[in-house]
Each structure stands twice: as structure tokens, then as C-alpha cells.
Symmetry: C2
Subunit: 178 residues, 2 copies
């Protein structure tokens, strides 16, 4: 594990994953890689989901997720280090903190909504009364799809392209796949 | 590791993660949990990204991602088992396969687009000439936001709610967070 000065602050450049040092993904020069370097495992995503649902305290996360306490500690520390959660003390003796989403944490909303929609389509929970997201304005289940933030039109595999193209493939661009 | 009959087919109920058995997340009865149970680590997401970019062959993935061959083998097997990739032979002797996105794999598009947008906002690559996604129809960079698939309106933290609410929090619903 090595602390390196990157950009404006201290950043963990390698990480231990089940005891195996993992290489940083920043060399890929890709925004997807940079996001999954933070949101890189199931627990991290589920802790963020719970934070959106209003879960704030350590024992609430344990109860909600059935996560081991040491695993939760590690994941919360990473989310604080990456700037997605703030630890806000709510008790002095002993010190206890609530974990609150920062602006950077709240901005993961769109990612969570697409993960939710994908699960509803392909791996819905077996319990018919499982938690669902609803769009308050229209009253229907909020199955998220992506739109272009500039023009507002629906984004599809066929109307986006990558620039510059990947050097390892002959025909580059998302539109090249059926 | 244990194979159990779940729903219509055989499903791996526990998984080894760095040598540590990991509990299945299906007990959470949550679509986010069910999605991250498949798309559960950085390499898996990046392999899917590459598949969208047109990468098909084992050595192309190695070259593009700098991923260890045994790691790639494990992740490709998982993606095939989960129904997101098909292995299609392109050579007989020795047998070599291309890895192609299935419909279930192609449908992860919206998730990738939101991961991409998040990275562009919060952790953009240092190289100013890094790969970007463009919306062909309007010509601008495709920074994805989520809309309701039913009514087409923008989804935000304030116009969605969860039902039923989480039992561990007093005020449930995404609208409860600032």
C-alpha cells in the first residue's frame, strides 16, 4: 500500500484486495475505470444505496445489509477517503459518527438508478413485495434510461461513438456492435 | 462453493473472493444487489466496456486492459455463466473463441454510460486526449443523465421514492436526503 500525491491531494495508488495488491487503473486513462476504482465492489455500492435510503449509522448499515463489521469499517473508510461520504460526529463519549453523502456521493444517483433498472429487468428479487423505486411525478415504477444531458434525447448503443477509437479493434465505436 | 437450484437453473450461491467465501446477496431482495452480484468488480466492468468498444478476443482484452490472463479467464467465465457474454468459436485447431455481448450484456449500456459520466465529472483521466463518448445526433459529449422510461422526465433524488421503506431508518425515501 502506498500513499502518493496525485492532483490536489493524497490518494491511495494501490489497494489490497483479498491480500493481493491491486494495480491502480488510472493508466487506462478512462472515466469508467476511474469510477470503478472507487465503486469497486458489491458492498461499496450497497452502502451507497443504503445511504440514499437514509441509513446513517454504523449499526444501521450492519442491520440493513448483514455486513461484517470489519468489512463495513474498511468500506466506509474508503468512501470517506474518496470523498463520497462525510463522517459527522453525533455523540462525544465515546465518539460516534454518522455517515452522510457528500455532493460527490449524492451524484452517484444516476449510476444506482441504472443498476436498479437492470436488476429489475434481468435479476428481479424473488419476493414480489421487494423494494421498488417509484417516480413520484408520474406514479410509475422508475425504470431509468439514459439521456444526453446536452440535448435531452435518449442515448442508445447506436447513437453514441467513442473518440479516439480503441487501438486494439478494427471497427471502433459503440455503433459497431449489433 | 456450492451449486444450488435457484429459479429456472443452476446458480452459484457463494463465490470465492480472494480466497474468502462470499455470501450471496440474494437475501437482500434488492435489484441493485442482484446486479452488483454479477457486475461486482472493476475488471468485470472494464471487460464489458471493452466488449462495447468492439473488443472480442482474449489477447485483445489483455492488450487493451493490461489484465493478467488468469484474471481475465475467471471474469470471462463469470460473464458467460451470468448470461452477459457468449463464447463463439472462430477457430478449430486449437479452439479459440470470441466473446460477444448477449442481449443481457448489451443491456448494461445505461449503467456504463452513467459510470462514464460520473468519472468525467469527478475523476477525469489526466490525459486531455482520453477516450470520450459523443452523442452522434447532437454532436456533444454524451454525459448521461437518467430519465423515467415511462414518462420520459428527468429522475432526481427528490422525485423518486422507495416502497416499502427500509425498516432500519425513520424517514425513508430518497427524497429525505438533502
Amino acid at each position: 500500500m502506498q500513499l502518493t500525491l496525485v492532483g490536489s491531494g493524497l490518494q491511495l495508488k494501490t489497494d489490497y484486495h483479498g491480500g493481493v495488491p491491486r494495480k491502480s487503473l488510472t493508466h487506462l486513462e478512462c472515466s469508467v475505470a476511474n469510477t470503478v476504482e472507487i465503486v469497486n465492489d458489491s458492498w461499496t455500492v450497497l452502502i451507497l444505496r443504503d445511504a440514499f435510503l437514509g441509513v446513517r449509522r454504523f449499526d444501521q448499515f450492519v442491520e440493513s445489509l448483514g455486513i461484517a463489521r470489519n468489512t463495513l469499517t474498511t468500506r466506509l473508510e474508503r468512501l470517506i477517503d474518496s470523498g463520497m461520504l462525510d463522517a459527522v460526529p453525533y455523540q462525544d463519549n465515546p465518539v460516534r459518527s454518522e455517515y452522510r453523502l457528500t455532493e460527490k456521493g449524492k451524484d452517484i444517483f444516476d449510476v444506482l438508478m441504472t443498476l436498479w433498472a437492470y436488476g429489475e429487468r434481468w435479476n428481479p428479487p424473488s419476493d414480489p413485495d421487494h423494494q421498488r423505486v417509484f417516480h413520484v411525478d408520474c406514479g410509475n415504477e422508475a425504470i431509468a434510461v439514459t439521456h444526453c444531458s446536452h440535448c435531452g434525447e435518449r442515448l442508445t448503443r447506436r447513437n453514441v461513438r467513442i473518440e479516439p477509437p480503441s487501438p486494439v479493434v478494427v471497427t471502433a465505436g459503440l455503433e459497431s456492435i449489433a
